[in-house]
């Protein structure tokens, strides 16, 4: 069983090695596409196995848990790996047109696959220190991708990104040390029961340390400043994979730790999370409203959307967790897609600064249609995926009489529409200030195919989730049930408990 769990990590690693060896030739990009496709196959098999057999766990090197390193996949892990693979395929195809040969020679494809390996590893590990190692793999690869090319703006954004993420890493490490000192284990399944014997007040302090560490990664208020400082500077394919996946690893880690381990004092910890959720939503969306560059607007919207997911975790009712899981999956698809579309707009209209572009609706109607799908989904228009995600969360908030937080969630949805219509009006509707007509035919056939196929694929996925939400909601319900009652998770890792 453990090869099934190890494959999604091993495949991108091997791909990264191969891509590094072939970085001087154009072969690297095809190796990257092939590697991501293999990863997609492996993650579909993993998903099918988890759906059939329930939670599966594997012990690396045959050291029994809790002594060895455990890899474990429940429904949440499996779906996160699957969605990572989908984004990896989309972005690796898009990169054929987006990444120039200079960046390829510097090892873009190797770094990209290393990043994917780190993300998948973080989703699939069952050991806290191993999670730290995967965070580092992901982090160092993202550092490289962020400054690849070395334009001064990239260096500027990179400094802030690197500095704040390293501080969060050290918080995480300190938290691990203290938790180990208190419980003597770092296996997450083992921790779930081991923390019961620890001093509960100290445990709360450690919980807050983890909350801050993962909060920086997830870009919640007031720890998100590195995100809008850096996400608009690298190549578009890099922005897209960052926007789709990186912050979500932080959300996943919060979701995992604060349902499995730190659920001893929810009145304290989850109340903080609720405040954080509300403030993140509001500050993110207001920040977006003040921006006039397409990528900067979208970056601030990542922050605002993270608030919704944290809201689900903070409420901690079954329906709220369902909403958070659904939101997580929907958001990765939609957000990565919007950044990819911004890349096409930059190519054919000559920028992402809204005042300097325009006319896309008239001369590139296909791109306009492809933009409308994820943009309206982000804002929560029925029948797209974002509507159901917001509906579930607002319903969950109303069920526990959270009138204010439900009101905030709805108001933030309205302001999201404002930002999306701003992009729509200025980039698509108004004529181009220079009088040119940006056309998709200005791209070569190969570039057009490589850029539009992933965008169309992700848009179709958004529409599918939106129009037939039932199986997806049922899936989210099942994975939320696993999160709230971790017996299956613990049994899969440690065996039958007396």
């Amino acid at each position: 069983m453990s090869w099934l769990l190890a494959l999604p990590v091993v495949i991108p690693f091997l791909t990264a090695v191969l891509a590094f060896l072939t970085r001087q030739s154009p072969l690297g990009r095809w190796i990257s596409v092939a590697g991501s496709s293999l990863l997609l196959v492996a993650s579909i098999i993993l998903m099918a196995t988890v759906l059939r057999d329930g939670v599966i766990a594997g012990q690396m090197g045959n050291w029994p848990a809790p002594f060895g390193i455990t890899l474990v996949a429940d429904l949440l892990s499996a779906v996160m790996v699957l969605i990572t693979a989908i984004v990896a395929v989309a972005v690796s195809i898009y990169a054929i047109a987006d990444v120039d040969e200079g960046m390829e020679r510097l090892g873009y494809h190797a770094l990209f696959n290393m990043l994917i390996a780190g993300v998948v590893g973080a989703f699939i590990t069952g050991d806290l220190f191993n999670l730290y190692v995967w965070f580092e793999v992901m982090l160092i690869a993202s550092f490289g991708l962020l400054v690849l090319g070395g334009r001064p703006e990239q260096i500027d954004g990179g400094v802030k990104y690197v500095a704040l993420n390293l501080v969060s890493t050290i918080m995480f490490l300190t938290g691990i040390g203290l938790l180990y000192g208190m419980t003597g284990t770092l296996n997450m399944a083992d921790l779930a029961s081991a923390v019961d014997g620890a001093d509960q007040r100290l445990l709360t302090i450690v919980a807050v340390l983890f909350m801050i560490a993962f909060g920086v990664k997830a870009a919640v208020f007031p720890l998100f400043f590195w995100l809008p400082a850096s996400y608009h500077t690298p190549a578009f394919s890099v922005s897209a994979v960052f926007a789709g996946l990186l912050t979500k690893v932080g959300v996943y880690a919060l979701l995992r730790m604060f349902t499995l381990v730190f659920d001893h004092d929810t009145a304290f910890t989850h109340t903080i999370l609720l405040w954080v959720a509300g403030l993140t939503m509001v500050v993110g969306v207001l920040g977006a409203a003040a921006q006039s560059d397409m990528r900067k607007i979208l970056s601030f919207h990542i922050v605002s959307q993270i608030g919704y997911m944290i809201l689900g975790l903070a409420l901690l009712t079954p329906l709220a967790i369902v909403g958070a899981v659904f939101y997580l999956v929907h958001h990765i698809v939609v957000k990565a897609n919007l950044f990819l579309i911004a890349g096409v707009a930059q190519r054919i209209a000559g920028g992402t600064e809204l005042s300097r572009i325009g006319g896309l609706y008239k001369s590139a109607p296909l791109l306009a249609v492809l933009f409308v799908v994820p943009a309206f989904s982000l804002a929560g228009f029925p029948p797209l995926s974002g509507f159901w995600a917001k509906f579930l969360l607002v319903k969950a908030a109303l069920d526990v009489q959270g009138w204010i937080i439900a009101g905030i969630a709805l108001a933030v949805g309205l302001l999201t529409i404002y930002s999306m219509t701003k992009i729509w009006a200025q980039a698509f509707w108004e004529p181009h200030p220079d009088g040119v007509e940006p056309k998709l035919s200005s791209l070569s056939n190969r570039e057009r195919a490589a850029m539009l196929i992933p965008i169309a694929g992700l848009a179709i996925l958004t529409v599918v989730i939106g129009t037939i939400p039932e199986p997806f909601v049922q899936f989210a319900e099942a994975s939320a049930a696993q999160l709230l009652d971790p017996t299956a998770y613990i049994t899969a890792v440690l065996g039958e408990q007396p």
């Binding site: 220190f129 730290y132 190692v133 580092e136 982090l139 160092i140 550092f143 400054v147 070395g150 001064p152 703006e153 990239q154 260096i155 500027d156 954004g157 990179g158 400094v159 802030k160 690197v162 500095a163 390293l166 501080v167 890493t169 050290i170 490490l173 300190t174 691990i176 040390g177 203290l178 180990y180 000192g181 208190m182 809008p228 400082a229 850096s230 608009h232 500077t233």
Partner: protein, 119 residues
């Protein structure tokens, strides 16, 4: 012994926070090195401190009641290696920032987020 370590860690963290807040990137990096060493020491102490009792057990013998905990030491080793890589990158990045932005004061680094002119 634990007390001594606790004081050391506290001093390291205090110095690190001071350096990190002093509005200069190179000092920030030095602060980061100090605080990461404080974190490593925290893990080390979390494994309980024992005096001269290595966790080496002859084959067939029972586990001794008092021996050093090898796991935190392995964790610290991993963390040091990872930290070394990250700092190497961070220092090169700061050097690059100096050559391409001509400043190491974060307040001057506004290229990615230019200040809006008052309207």
């Amino acid at each position: 012994m634990e007390f001594l370590f606790a004081i050391t860690i506290g001093v390291l963290v205090a110095a690190a926070v001071y350096l990190m807040l002093s509005n200069h990137l190179l000092r920030f990096i030095f602060g980061l090195v100090l605080i990461s060493n404080a974190a490593n020491l925290t893990i080390f102490v979390a494994g309980r401190l024992t005096d001269g009792a290595p966790p080496l057990i002859p084959e067939g013998a029972d586990a001794p009641t008092l021996a050093a905990n090898a796991l935190p030491q392995a964790l610290v080793l991993t963390a040091i290696v990872i930290g070394f890589g990250l700092f190497a990158f961070a220092i090169v990045l700061v050097f690059r920032a100096w050559t391409s932005l001509n400043s190491l004061t974060p307040d001057d680094m506004r290229l990615a987020e230019p200040e809006e002119a008052p309207k």
